[in-house]
C-alpha cells in the first residue's frame, strides 16, 4: 500500500501548481512582496508558514466539531497566534539576525490570508490527517513561489545567493562586475516582487490555458 492514497497526494500536489495559493488564488501577496529581497528570508518564511499552517490545520481540524460557528474566527486567530509566537520565539532564540530581517513579518503570518483561508475552507470540514496534508501542500505551494521570487530578486538585485556573492565582488570588480555588470537596484524594492510574481502567473497561464478566466 502506498504511503498516500491518490486523493491524499492530490492534496499536496494541487497547491504546488494548478491551485497555487499565490499565483492562482492570489493570497499571501503582502509577505511575498515584503520579505523576498533575500533568499534566506524567503526560505525561513516558507518554513515558518509550513509549520504554522500544517499544525494549525491539524488543531482546527481536531476541534472542528466543538467550535461554535459564531466565534470560530476568534478561535482560529488564537490558534494561529499561539503557533506564530512559537515560531517567533524560536527564531529569536536560534537565529536572531534573521529574525531581525524578518522583523514584523513573522508576527504578520497571523494575517496571512492563506492560513485563515485554509482553516475556513478545509480544516473545518475535514479530518486531521487530510487537513495536515492540505496544510503541507498549500504551505509548499506558497514557499515555492517565495523561493523562486527570492532567488531572482537576490541574484539580480544584490548578486548574491544566501548572502554568498556568486557573481563576483561589486566593489573589487571581480567576476561579472569586471565586465561592467551592475546590480539591478530595481529588484531590491518591493514592486519588483510584484512584477516577478506577475511574470510567474503569466508563464503558468501560458503553459496551462485552462487556468485563464473568460474575459
Amino acid at each position: 500500500m502506498p504511503l498516500l492514497s491518490k486523493k491524499e497526494s492530490k492534496l499536496i500536489l494541487d497547491p504546488l501548481a494548478d491551485n497555487n495559493p499565490i499565483t492562482i488564488q492570489v493570497l499571501g501577496i503582502c509577505s511575498a512582496l515584503a520579505i523576498t529581497a533575500e533568499l534566506k528570508a524567503s526560505v525561513v518564511m516558507a518554513i515558518s508558514v509550513l509549520f504554522v499552517l500544517a499544525m494549525g490545520n491539524v488543531v482546527i481540524s481536531l476541534m472542528r466539531n466543538i467550535i461554535p460557528s459564531k466565534i470560530r474566527i476568534i478561535v482560529q486567530l488564537v490558534v494561529v497566534a499561539t503557533l506564530v509566537i512559537v515560531v517567533d520565539q524560536t527564531l529569536k532564540a536560534f537565529a536572531y539576525e534573521l529574525s531581525k530581517t524578518l522583523s514584523v513579518f513573522v508576527g504578520l503570518i497571523i494575517t496571512n490570508c492563506i492560513i485563515m483561508g485554509r482553516f475556513e475552507a478545509f480544516a473545518l470540514g475535514n479530518g486531521p490527517w487530510r487537513s495536515f496534508l492540505d496544510g503541507i501542500g498549500n504551505a509548499l505551494g506558497y514557499g515555492v513561489i517565495l523561493i523562486i521570487v527570492g532567488f531572482f530578486r537576490e541574484l539580480l538585485g544584490s548578486g548574491t545567493l544566501f548572502g554568498i556573492p556568486v557573481l563576483g565582488d561589486p566593489i573589487a570588480k571581480t567576476g561579472l562586475y569586471a565586465y561592467g555588470y551592475e546590480n539591478n537596484g530595481f529588484m531590491i524594492i518591493p514592486p519588483a516582487a510584484l512584477i516577478v510574481v506577475g511574470i510567474l502567473i503569466w508563464i503558468q497561464r501560458a503553459k496551462n490555458p485552462s487556468l485563464v478566466e473568460e474575459a
Binding site: E182, N184, M187
Partner: protein, 418 residues
C-alpha cells in the same frame, strides 16, 4: 517590384513568420487587399504608420542636435566652454559630430534592435501583425537617456519596457503606461548611479571618475542639478544656452527651440493634441508661480534646500531639463493620455503641475517629468470616466427639464420612444 512582393506575400501566407514579412512589406508599400475604391467607406491616408513616421520626422532635429551637443559638451568639459560662442565655429563641427555619432548611434541601434526583435517575436508567437508602436518608442528612448548609458543596461531596460509595459497588456494601443517612459523609469530605479548626479550627462565623464583629482576628471552638472544643490551662482549657462539647448542633459531633451518646432509641426499635422501641450505648460507655470510666490512672501529661508529651485523663475522651468520634451512628445501619446477633450485639459494641467512639484521637492533627483507623466497615464482612464459620466448626467438633466410638447399623433410618440 510591388507585384513581386505580393507574390511573395501569397507564398508565405500560411507560414509561422508571415507577420514578420507583412510588417516589412506594409512599412512602405500598400498591400493589395485595401478597401476598394469608391463605395461608402471613409478612407484616410493617416494610418498608424503615417502617424508614427510623422512623429519620427518631428524627432529627427532633436536627435541631430543631441548628436552635436554630445560632442560639444564633451569637448567643453575638457577644454572649457568657448569664450565667444558661435554656433558654426564651436557647435556644428566634425569632431562634435563624430563624438556624438559614436555615442548616440549605438544607443539608437540597441533601442531599435532589441525593441523590434521583441515585437517580431511576440507577433510570430501570437500570430498577429507587427504593430508600428515601437517605431516612435525606439526613437524616443535614446533621446531621454544620458549619453553614456551602458548599452547592455539599455537593452535590458528596453526588453523590460516593451514586455512589461506593453506586450503583457496586449501590444500597441492597449498599454496603460508610455513604454518609453517605462524604460526610462526602469533605468532610473535599477541603475540610479548611471541616471543621475553630475557624471553621466557628458560623454567621458564617467571614465573621469577613476582619474579623479587629475586634470582629466571632468564633470557635467545639469542646470537642475546646480539648483538642487543651491549652487545657482556657479552655473555658467545663459538664458539663450538654455533655450537653444547648449547645456548638459539627456541626449535629445536640451534644445527647447527644436522641441517647440517639433511640437508645432505635430500640432499642425494634427498628430498630437494641442490641448495637452497647452494645459501642461499652464500647469507647470502655475506651480512655478506658486513656488515663486512662496519665495516672494518670504515664507522660505535662503538656507533651505528647496530655496534655489523655488526661487527659479517660473517660466524658466520650461526651458531646462526634460519638461518641454516630456510635454510635447510623451504626454501627448494618443494611447496613454486622456481621450476626451475636457479630460485632456485636466490631464495636461496635472502633468505640468506635478512635474514642477516633484522637481522642487525631490532634490535627490530633480527631474520629475517622467514620474508625473507615468502617474497621469495611470489616472487618464479615470479622468475620462468622470468626464464621460459628467456629460451623461448633464444630458440626462437637460432631458428631464426639457419641455415635451404633446405629440401630434400617437404613432410618432411611439417611434420616438423606441
Amino acid at each position: 517590384m510591388k507585384q513581386k512582393l505580393h507574390q511573395i506575400k501569397e507564398r508565405v501566407k500560411d507560414k509561422k513568420w508571415a507577420p514578420a514579412f507583412n510588417a516589412i512589406h506594409t512599412f512602405l508599400y500598400t498591400p493589395n487587399e485595401v478597401t476598394h475604391k469608391g463605395g461608402t467607406h471613409v478612407k484616410a491616408v493617416d494610418d498608424l504608420k503615417r502617424t508614427m513616421n510623422t512623429v519620427i520626422v518631428a524627432l529627427i532635429p532633436c536627435l541631430l542636435f543631441g548628436i552635436f551637443n554630445a560632442g560639444y559638451q564633451h569637448y567643453s568639459a575638457i577644454e572649457g566652454f568657448p569664450q565667444d560662442f558661435s554656433v558654426v565655429e564651436h557647435f556644428i563641427t566634425w569632431r562634435n559630430f563624430l563624438v556624438g555619432l559614436t555615442t548616440v548611434l549605438p544607443l539608437l541601434i540597441v533601442s531599435y534592435g532589441v525593441g523590434l526583435a521583441i515585437e517580431f517575436v511576440f507577433a510570430v508567437i501570437k500570430g498577429h501583425e507587427v504593430e508600428e508602436g515601437y517605431l516612435v518608442t525606439g526613437m524616443l528612448v535614446p533621446l531621454i537617456v544620458p549619453v553614456d548609458t551602458p548599452l547592455w543596461m539599455l537593452a535590458i531596460a528596453v526588453a523590460f519596457g516593451v514586455v512589461i509595459g506593453k506586450e503583457v497588456f496586449g501590444g500597441t494601443g492597449m498599454n496603460i503606461l508610455n513604454p518609453a517612459l517605462t524604460i526610462r523609469a526602469f533605468l532610473f530605479f535599477a541603475y540610479p548611479t548611471w541616471m543621475s548626479g553630475d557624471k553621466v550627462w557628458v560623454h567621458g565623464a564617467v571614465d573621469g571618475i577613476s582619474k579623479a583629482g587629475t586634470a582629466d576628471a571632468i564633470s557635467g552638472e545639469t542646470i537642475l542639478g546646480f539648483l538642487a544643490q543651491n549652487k545657482t551662482a556657479e552655473m555658467g549657462f545663459s538664458l539663450s544656452d538654455m533655450f537653444f539647448g547648449f547645456i548638459p542633459g539627456s541626449v535629445g531633451e536640451t534644445s527647447t527651440l527644436l522641441i517647440l518646432l517639433g511640437g508645432l509641426y505635430l500640432v499642425f499635422t494634427k498628430i498630437a493634441s494641442w490641448r495637452i501641450m497647452l494645459s501642461a505648460t499652464i500647469g507647470a507655470l502655475a506651480m512655478g508661480l506658486l513656488f515663486n510666490a512662496v519665495v516672494d512672501f518670504g515664507w522660505i529661508q535662503s538656507y533651505s534646500k528647496f530655496y534655489s529651485l523655488m526661487a527659479f523663475d517660473f517660466w524658466k522651468h520650461l526651458i531646462v531639463g526634460g519638461l518641454a520634451f516630456g510635454i510635447v512628445y510623451m504626454a501627448t501619446d494618443p494611447v496613454t493620455s486622456s481621450q476626451t477633450n475636457k479630460g485632456k485639459w485636466i490631464y495636461g494641467f496635472l502633468v505640468g503641475f506635478i512635474s514642477v512639484m516633484i522637481r522642487v521637492f525631490n532634490p535627490g533627483y530633480p527631474e520629475g517629468v517622467f514620474l508625473a507623466i507615468l502617474l497621469m497615464n495611470v489616472f487618464a482612464p479615470t479622468i475620462d470616466h468622470y468626464v464621460v459620466q459628467g456629460n451623461v448626467k448633464r444630458r440626462l438633466k437637460r432631458a428631464k427639464q426639457a419641455k415635451i410638447y404633446p405629440a401630434s399623433t400617437p404613432a410618432s410618440v411611439e417611434t420616438q420612444t423606441a
